[in-house]
């Protein structure tokens, strides 16, 4: 990876304008090169998934004779796991938003005395290693019969999403003028109704951002899938890939085809919902 000079040379503005066109074309070209280097592994994954031999040794740099045998095997082996992942991820979205949205609103707009303590707890909870949670949940889930269950994984996966969603939503909701809600209250709406009919619609964009990330977090979850399942009953696709890696490394095209299928949500969302993804990428960290 090349290192570029870090600061724009501040030549006189006029001179800059003169050179701007050729220069900015050069920057665009350079930017494409950087992006190509960074995304080469993604390209390679797609390329390898389409190779006929199932072995990357003979893999061409481009799939000249694309074969879908890898995908046939991937769907036969992992199709059910993809559906499991989809159900768990959608469940995580619903659960996370139901829990996070009211809390975010309360932390943004109500004057609670312990608000800073609550925010601190949320920030710290984002930092707790997942393995700590998994260690404790395994025993608890074992007693509660939640091992190998979709609700169990939804609840656990929400731990990736809920603190993040609260912070993202609160950052937006802090800007809602209290007068809008008060106006509805004067018209006789209760707090809950005002929240549902006013705050939720206004917060639509940040809810979409939080929901998309909840989906991606849950879809990507590997740790809870690995530790909180013990049988084949419920098997998210991330765990399916891990097991492929243990047994199928000779059949790379099937492994890579599964990897491609598991990347579809991230790729599609990044292209179609770029605005929301960008908002989440900056919002969650430094708020």
């Amino acid at each position: 990876m090349a290192i570029v000079p870090v600061v724009l040379p501040h030549a006189a503005a006029s001179r800059r304008r003169q050179k701007q066109n050729t220069r900015s074309a050069g920057y665009t070209a350079l930017g494409i090169v950087f992006l190509a280097i960074m995304l080469f592994p993604v390209y390679w994954m797609i390329n390898a998934s389409l190779q006929p031999s199932g072995n990357t040794l003979t893999a061409d740099i481009f799939p000249f004779n694309p074969s879908f045998a890898g995908y046939e095997k991937a769907i036969a082996d992992q199709g059910g796991n993809l559906v499991t992942s989809l159900i768990i991820s959608l469940g995580t979205v619903v659960l996370s938003l139901l829990i996070a949205a009211p809390a975010a609103y309360a932390l943004a707009q109500f004057r609670f005395r312990w608000i800073n303590v609550a925010l601190l707890a949320i920030i710290i909870s984002q930092m707790i290693p997942g393995i700590v949670i998994a260690n404790a949940l395994y025993a608890a889930y074992n007693d509660l019969g939640l091992l190998n269950s979709i609700p169990g994984l939804i609840l656990a996966d929400a731990s990736h999403a809920i603190p993040f969603a609260i912070l993202i939503l609160r950052a937006f909701m802090i800007g809602i003028p209290p007068s809008i809600v008060e106006a509805a209250r004067v018209d006789g709406a209760g707090l809950v109704r005002a929240f549902v009919s006013i705050v939720v619609p206004i917060s639509r964009n940040s809810l979409i951002t939080a929901g998309l990330f909840a989906f991606l977090f849950s879809w990507s979850d590997f740790l809870f899938a690995l530790t909180l399942t013990t049988t084949d009953e419920v098997r998210p696709v991330t765990l399916g890939i891990y097991q492929y890696l243990g047994t199928q490394v000779s059949n790379w095209s099937a492994v890579m085809a599964t990897a491609v299928l598991s990347s579809v949500p991230a790729i599609v969302l990044l292209i179609l919902a770029q605005k929301y993804i960008a908002a989440g990428a900056t919002g969650g960290a430094v708020k």
Partner: protein, 327 residues
């Protein structure tokens, strides 16, 4: 903790019980309103109860449970008999005296430091590059997020095929320059480096995004004024960019440390802690003791050491963050 000055204090929320302006109703109406408010206080609390409950059950409880388990002989047997005898600090003694403890601690440190430096340097360079506005710059920059959004296990699988000693594209590429093929994931002396390289790749987008935001926040006038004084190029970087970016830098680095300490997916997917334990970290030890050896007590002891280290950096982070907010 006294370090909790968070942005909330600027919340535009109305003060509880503050007199409401506008149409103050007659006394009878006011009493009814007051009753409604106390009922309303309960409703307000109900807004946060689900989240509070969730955080207590899924973050608070695990921390307490890990501390308790680390003091118990907690094994598979416990699940049948329900008995987990107290063993005091035995698990910690087992941990510290195990011959994997110091290597895993060292590997954790190397993995974290190596990943952070690589992610940060490349991330800053790319952020500075994308700060120049040029056609497609925003689009290219957001596409850069892809490695970060992919499931980590997908990244591991892909890199495993790229790094494969015999058939991987990287060694074939190096071979065209006449270089010997490198046993990236199979040699104990190279595996940790390989794992760090992959983790750098995963972490670059996050660093670019946050640092780009930080660079955007530095006012252009500073550079214009600096240029008049002859501060351009690297000079401008050291005297203008770096001092102004420092708060963001400390946040990125500390968050990076906290996130890197807990990395598990990448290492499990690439090497499973091997070869010959060359990529064992504290998080991997904790996982393997609990879920491979079913020694939950020992696993919990490893976890707690990990939590203590994370907490240390979390506190530094919160202090840095507070300073940033104050400024």
């Amino acid at each position: 903790m006294s370090l909790t000055r968070l942005p909330s204090e600027s919340a535009p929320a109305e003060r509880e019980g503050a007199p409401r302006r506008s149409t103050l109703p007659p006394s009878e109406k006011r009493r009814r309103l007051r009753r409604q408010f106390s009922k309303e206080n309960i409703t307000k609390v109900l807004f946060v109860v689900p989240a509070a409950l969730y955080i207590v059950l899924f973050f608070g409880y695990p921390i307490v449970k890990n501390v308790v388990m680390s003091l118990q002989d907690y094994t598979t047997k416990t699940f049948f008999t329900g008995e987990a005898p107290w063993v005091g600090l035995d698990n910690y003694i087992t941990v510290v005296s195990s011959n994997l403890f110091w290597p895993s601690l060292t590997n954790t440190a190397l993995f974290t430091i190596g990943s952070i430096i690589g992610q940060f340097v490349i991330g800053l360079a790319l952020a500075a590059f994308f700060k120049r506005r040029f056609p497609l710059s925003n689009f290219l920059r957001s596409m850069l997020l892809l490695p970060w959004l992919l499931p980590l296990i997908v990244a591991s699988a892909t890199w495993r095929s790229i790094l494969d000693q015999d058939s991987g594209i990287l060694n074939r590429f190096l071979g065209t320059f006449g270089l010997d093929s490198v046993p990236w994931l199979t040699s104990p002396s190279v595996a940790l480096t390989a794992v760090i390289l992959v983790n750098i790749w995963v972490g670059i987008p996050f660093n670019v995004t946050i640092l780009y935001g930080g660079l955007q926040d530095i006012p252009d006038e500073l550079y214009e004024a600096g240029a008049l004084d002859g501060a351009t190029g690297w000079k401008a970087f050291w005297h203008i960019t770096w001092p102004n970016l420092r708060p963001v830098v400390s946040v990125v680095l500390l968050l990076g440390v906290v996130y890197t300490l807990k990395v598990l997916d990448i290492i499990l997917g690439l090497t499973n802690g091997g070869p010959a334990n060359a990529t064992q970290t504290l998080a991997i030890r904790s996982y393997q003791e609990s879920f491979v050896n079913f020694e939950f007590g020992v696993g919990a002891a490893f976890s707690n050491i990990l939590i203590l280290i994370s907490l240390l950096f979390a506190i530094i982070y919160l202090r840095a963050n507070r300073r940033q907010v104050d400024e």
